[in-house]
């Protein structure tokens, strides 16, 4: 059965520069100043496009927002501090150690690992566990293709991704807020799913360091934290490994972390989300809107227990 990759019309990308329409923004602010106490007047002043749009209104988020608002604790817990702190991060030469249940464990030079593959453009919704979201035009290679090149043995049931550990370059790693290095993992069938991407670019440009250069994982139906950044090790395992956030705060973050509007984070609701740059909230979609493609991976599982 051919899988339909859900697409957000690429023609919409040209809207990037015009996304921040100064006039509608000024109208919103004028409304805010004039009617600070009168909420309804304020909302009506915001005009279309500034409010949380419908669930199917998926304009790509501007490049500057995608690359200027980053959860990358290896650099900083302040989303707008990551970009300046990552500015001089070295992404070449870069090697990826492949080990565990593979026929030939070895260290790959990144360019060698990716040689022969063509990066595809995939415009995906990106949903953070903090209840905000973006629409990102990623460029990347389906992880399944890379896994076939790495040649795991039949014993492999999970794939684990490890982020670079380098406190000299990553100041956030000098604090003990998370156990470093960052580790994330997928079940092998999730990793082999055609939507799962190893990303090398954004908006047709090489991915910048603050977004996880030179190589990061993107799993669009899961919360953003599953997407390990700046990957230096890929390990195939027989058992489910411990992953960083689930290890640090087990009651708040699970291994699966599938986007699910019906299972709240203990401290906030996951039923709705705010698109970055917009006010208001829109409903969050089951599996981030990719249920048709991925729901079958979780048949018979209690998603409340396996959150």
């Amino acid at each position: 059965m051919p899988l339909r990759i859900p697409r957000i019309a690429p023609s919409e990308i040209t809207d990037e520069r015009h996304f921040w329409d100064r006039r509608s923004w000024l109208a919103a602010v004028g409304g805010a100043v004039g009617a600070a106490a009168a909420g309804p007047a304020l909302l009506s002043a915001m005009g279309p496009g500034r409010r949380g749009g419908g669930a199917d209104d998926d304009k790509p988020t501007p490049y500057d927002s995608i690359t200027g608002y980053n959860n990358f604790y290896e650099f900083s817990t302040d989303k707008e501090e990551v970009k300046p702190l990552a500015a001089r991060f070295r992404t070449r030469p870069w090697t990826v150690r492949v080990e565990g249940a593979v026929r030939r464990p070895r260290t790959w030079d990144l360019d060698e690992l990716l040689r022969g593959f063509t990066a595809e453009e995939r415009i995906y919704r990106h949903r953070c566990v903090e209840a905000w979201s973006m629409v990102v035009p990623w460029n990347g290679i389906p992880l399944a293709q890379v896994i076939r090149r790495l040649d795991p043995t039949p014993a492999a049931k999970y794939v684990e991704f490890t982020t670079l550990l380098d406190p000299a370059q990553m100041p956030g790693q000098r604090s003990g807020i998370l156990p470093w290095p960052y580790v994330e993992a997928l079940r092998l069938d999730e990793a082999m799913h055609p939507l799962t991407l190893l990303v090398t670019g954004i908006y047709g440009r090489p991915i910048p360091p603050q977004n996880g250069a030179p190589l990061r994982l993107v799993v669009p139906w899961k919360y953003g934290f599953k997407g390990a950044k700046s990957i230096v090790r890929i390990r195939f395992l027989e058992r489910q490994p411990a992953t960083t956030w689930a290890l640090a705060v087990p009651n708040e973050y699970g291994f699966y972390a599938n986007v699910n509007p019906t299972v709240d984070h203990p401290r906030w609701s996951q039923a709705r989300e705010r698109r970055i740059g917009e006010f208001g909230r829109r409903p969050t979609l089951m599996f981030n809107g990719y249920a048709e493609q991925v729901a079958s991976l979780y048949g018979g599982m209690d998603l409340r227990v396996n959150f």
Binding site: V29, V249, W268, R272, G280
Partner: protein
């Protein structure tokens, strides 16, 4: 003169947010910039308000007490702006969602309780209310100690993991409340009627 200087200084963060909003310079997530900006300054001004009495006792600078009411009202004003932004720009005046948010999440009901206290204190701050309430005024306004503790936990619960800043502010709150507890105990110990 000095009173107006402090008044203007307390307005600066709010004016700055409006200015940045006007020029579309609130960063990638304008909502969070506005929501956190107003919430942060409501909290900081509450701390500053609570520092006035210790400052007066420790320095003997009695005039400073004239600033206390104004600073407390500024804190309440930022808190009102904060909650208005949450209810309108963030939640879109979706009352069922706001209600559910407040009932289910500690962070929200701690914040709501803080707002109720600040509004009650602001409403009873005019001199005529001070006179009318008499002794009860002082008792009522001790609720500011509860408000600052609630606000601290409300703030700490917004942090996903990194609680270094809330811990720092927790130290400041502990110091300010601890000083009062210490003075209160000394007064009790030294009072001649005791025993």
């Amino acid at each position: 003169m000095r009173w107006w200087g402090v008044f203007a200084l307390a307005a600066v963060p709010g004016v700055r947010l409006v200015y940045r909003a006007f020029w579309g310079d609130l960063g990638p997530d304008p909502l969070v910039t506005l929501e956190h900006g107003t919430g942060f300054w409501a909290f900081v001004l509450l701390i500053v308000t609570l520092s006035i009495t210790p400052l007066r006792r420790l320095t003997g600078w009695n005039q400073v007490i004239k600033l206390r009411k104004m600073l407390g009202l500024w804190s309440a004003a930022y808190a009102v702006a904060h909650v208005t932004i949450y209810a309108t720009l963030d939640q879109g005046l979706d009352w069922p969602s706001i209600w559910a948010d407040a009932l289910e999440h500690r962070r929200i009901y701690l914040g709501a309780a803080t707002l109720v206290i600040l509004l009650a204190l602001a409403a009873t701050s005019p001199n005529v209310m001070v006179r009318r309430l008499g002794k009860r005024w002082g008792t009522l306004h001790r609720l500011i100690y509860l408000a600052v503790v609630l606000a601290l936990f409300h703030y700490a619960l917004t942090q996903k993991l990194d609680v270094r800043e809330p811990l720092l502010w927790g130290g400041v709150v502990t110091l300010l409340l601890g000083l009062r507890a210490w003075w209160g105990w000394r007064k009790f110990r030294d009072s001649p009627s005791r025993g």
